[in-house]
């Protein structure tokens, strides 16, 4: 059974600081997704990582994938309040079939 674990589950940080959210998973997969969810809203796709060593960046967020370590990271650079949200990683259990297993989510709060 595939398990996807995020760390930390809660993160409170100050504006301007850097931090990293970790996503570990327990079985082989080379497709990993990051989603963002604002309070009361649905999930929005952030990044799709499709191979070992993949790195994607959008603004202050950068995601990477190490399939050998079964680890993905979401790095936040110089955080701003607008990035406050819950972030989920998800692993594709069946390659290309989009059968996703989600992590528990990381609730990120960025304080002025």
């Amino acid at each position: 059974e595939l398990k996807v674990e995020q760390n930390p589950l809660f993160l409170s940080m100050q504006e301007g600081k850097n931090y990293t959210i970790y996503c570990n998973y327990s079985t082989t997969s080379d497709r990993l997704y990051w989603y963002r969810q604002d309070p009361g809203k649905s999930l929005e796709s952030l990044f799709v990582l499709l191979s070992n060593g993949a790195v994607k960046q959008e603004g202050r967020l950068m995601a990477s994938l190490d399939t050998k370590a079964r680890l993905s990271t979401l790095h936040i650079t110089a955080a701003v309040h607008d990035l406050s949200a819950t972030y989920f990683c998800a692993v594709d259990l069946r390659q290309g079939a989009q059968k996703l297993v989600f992590g528990q989510g990381t609730r990120l709060t960025i304080n002025p």
Binding site: S42, S45, F88, A90, Q98, L100, V101, G105
Partner: protein, 112 residues
Amino acid sequence: DVKVTQSSRYLVKRTGEKVFLECVQDMDHENMFWYRQDPGLGLRLIYFSYDVKMKEKGDIPEGYSVSREKKERFSLILESASTNQTSMYLCASGAPIKNIQYFGAGTRLSVL
């Protein structure tokens, strides 16, 4: 813009009632999914469908069934609602080659 529409944002039902949650997508996607979201557990896959009249169980199908009579519509059915089915339900759709799932706004169901 991809649109995934769930018929209700909030529903309150009584124990034992039959409940229908409807989801419609407008992008001709082959794949459709139903998840439930509970605090600390992330999203868990209930059922998914790769084509009309096709369905496959996800990780937590017990107490649920689905129907997909048309490509754009995927319904989740709670045959006899129970209090432990109180949750947020999210529908998603996706095309295999695009590697992204698009989510609806969610239905918050309370079973009393």
